[in-house]
Symmetry: C2
Subunit: 79 residues, 2 copies
């Protein structure tokens, strides 16, 4: 089963890569008010069904993929 995880810096948390992207886009002439950079993790995992896959991926987020103090995560099960 395939799953996609989006890990993003929480609002209010400093995001130096996002600031770098925002500054560079402005220098290139783009009208950007804000840019935030996070991670996308695409997973291929063994699970009996989508519910079980979601539980597993949420556990992966809590244990490794995201830092809950400063990041949020969003899980999409692709089937």
């Amino acid at each position: 089963m395939k799953a996609t995880v989006l890990v993003r810096p929480k609002e209010g948390i400093l995001d130096p890569p996002g600031e770098a992207v925002e500054g560079s886009l402005r220098k290139l002439g783009f009208s950007v008010a804000d840019a935030r950079v996070g991670k996308v993790v695409d997973l291929e995992l063994e699970a009996a069904n989508a519910d079980e896959a979601r539980k597993q991926v949420e556990a992966m987020c809590e244990k490794l993929l995201a830092n809950p103090l400063i990041e949020t995560y969003e899980v999409v099960i692709d089937g």
Copy 2:
């Protein structure tokens, strides 16, 4: 207008962060067959409509956000 860009390593391209995530998840006991790591960029930009926003964001991808030799990108306009 808000837009989200997903930048991923192309298939067949080495992805050391993905290999590290895959190895760590396995050590934690998860049954993961594959993991690939890319970037998610959330943008707030000025654009008259969704079509114009998409054009701008695609130009940003070509010029800065993605390396077309080794990465693919996907643009989602959130409105």
